[in-house]
């Protein structure tokens, strides 16, 4: 059993127990944590974090600029912004995605636009329940 905490600078946005947590780190692709995982600290990509609970149900969060720390049975996700499914404004995310895509087509090297695009994409993904 894992104790999961999702912590953002303004508040603890989620605490709960889970049997597995899946996240994506900057270099290593997806990584899943189960009880007994080796102590681990990693930088997260702009991507979703999926928390699989005991009964098999899932909670997912869109996480931007985050870290994960695993020690023993405690998993802490630290992130500037972490949004649960029902906190996401899909219409806004889609508009942001369109704007970012447009900015990128004008200038492929625009880092801000690429970041905005990634954020919008993960928001839409989480809102769709993936």
């Amino acid at each position: 059993m894992l104790n999961v905490q999702v912590v953002s600078p303004e508040s603890v946005s989620y605490t709960g127990k889970a049997s597995m947590v899946v996240a994506r780190t900057v270099e290593g692709g997806d990584i899943a944590f189960q009880p007994g995982h080796i102590p681990f600290i990693g930088i997260l990509q702009v991507w979703s974090v999926v928390i699989v609970k005991e009964d098999g149900s899932r909670d997912s969060f869109a996480v931007h600029r985050g870290f994960v720390q695993v020690s023993d049975t405690d998993i802490t996700i630290l992130s500037d912004v972490s949004e649960a499914k029902d906190e996401i404004d899909v219409v806004r995310a889609e508009r942001a995605l369109a704007e970012a895509a447009q900015a990128l087509s004008a200038d492929a090297g625009d880092a801000d636009a690429a970041y905005d695009k990634a954020r919008a994409e993960v928001r839409i993904r989480v809102a769709a329940g993936e």
Binding site: T25, G28, I41, I43, F67, S71, D80
Partner: protein
């Protein structure tokens, strides 16, 4: 004229009364806001604790970095000051305390021949320094009573950028620490360069179980490098939240004493007004009695007629009343 003083006092009382209403309302608003601000400060604590805990683990894991935020200048030429005060006044000494402390620090460094850069948070800080012809390089306004993390990041970005490109060699943070509802203290701390990670971990009070050997991805060094900017943002955000709570607590106290003073003033003025009214009544009676006595010196019979005629002249109302009298008698 005797009635004038009374009217004047009545006007002053009503003006003090409306001031009291305002200060009372501000006191109540501040009281609810300070509770909210304290809750926000509490809610923000786990994040900075966790960040410190990660840094602690990184230090234990032997992470090393030449991150520019750790750069110790050989010779400090220019010092940055982050001064946190409020946007609004009427909060007792809340604004002046950190501003004075900052000015003292700044003067101290100046006498050592160092230049300064000011990062003013809150309208009052910027106004104070601008008025005294200091150079205000950065100022941030409009959020001090309810800061968001975005605000902290904006400040952190500017400070870090100025530090990293070598414009400033050291940064001091001056803010009001919120200790309890009754106690707030101005705190002057070195903000940049950051201390060694080991020192940071120790002073931060993170979870003290750094013994476990962690696996880092991608590497301890790069995790630390990514974490440091977050760390200074979190520290600034914590300071901003402390300031917000302090500001509301100070305002509540200031407004409470203003309300009390207003009450006292109202009592004092009411007494004066009552005395003035009494004096006016006494004077009037004296005048009537004096007048009657003066008339008394004339003939007895003529006096009664004269008095009646006098009253009839004074007001139109008694005249109309006498006009209706004959019908009653008839």
């Amino acid at each position: 004229m005797p009635g004038g003083k009374e009217r004047e006092l009545r006007r002053r009382i009503s003006s003090v009364q409306s001031t009291k209403k305002i200060t009372r309302a501000m006191e109540l608003i501040a009281a609810t806001r300070v509770v909210k601000a304290m809750q926000r400060a509490d809610a923000a604590r786990p994040y900075s604790r966790q960040i410190t805990s990660v840094i602690e683990n990184l230090a234990a894991g032997g992470a090393e970095t030449n991150h520019p935020l750790l750069r110790q200048a050989d010779e400090v030429k220019k010092v940055g000051f982050i001064v946190m005060a409020g946007d609004r006044g009427l909060a007792g000494a809340y604004n002046t305390n950190p501003i004075r402390a900052a000015e003292r620090q700044l003067q101290g460094h100046r006498t050592e021949g160092k230049d300064y850069a000011l990062f003013c948070v809150g309208k009052k800080a910027a106004a104070y320094f601008a008025f005294r012809n200091y150079r205000v390089d950065y100022d941030y306004q409009g959020f001090t009573d309810n800061p968001s993390y975005e605000d902290a990041r904006r400040i952190a970005d500017d400070v870090a950028a100025a530090f990293i490109n070598g414009e400033i060699d050291e940064v001091e943070l001056i803010y009001t620490e919120f200790i309890s509802m009754g106690t707030q203290r101005v705190s002057v701390r070195r903000f940049l360069p950051l201390e060694d990670t080991a020192v940071m971990a120790e002073s931060g009070g993170g979870d003290a179980e750094a013994a476990a050997s962690f696996e880092f991805e991608p590497s301890p060094d790069s995790v630390l490098e990514a974490l440091l900017p977050r760390y200074i943002e979190a520290r600034l955000f914590g300071a901003l939240l402390d300031c917000a709570a302090s500001e509301h607590a100070n305002r509540q106290r200031a407004m409470k004493s203003a309300t009390d003073n207003a009450e006292e003033l109202i009592t004092k003025l009411s007494r004066q007004m009552n005395a003035a009214r009494q004096a006016a009544i006494t004077t009037e009676i004296m005048e009537i009695v004096g007048g009657a006595e003066a008339l008394d010196e004339g003939g007895d019979g003529a006096q009664a007629v004269d008095l009646e005629g006098m009253f009839a002249q004074i007001g139109a109302a008694p005249e109309s009343a006498t006009a209706s009298d004959p019908t009653n008698e008839g």
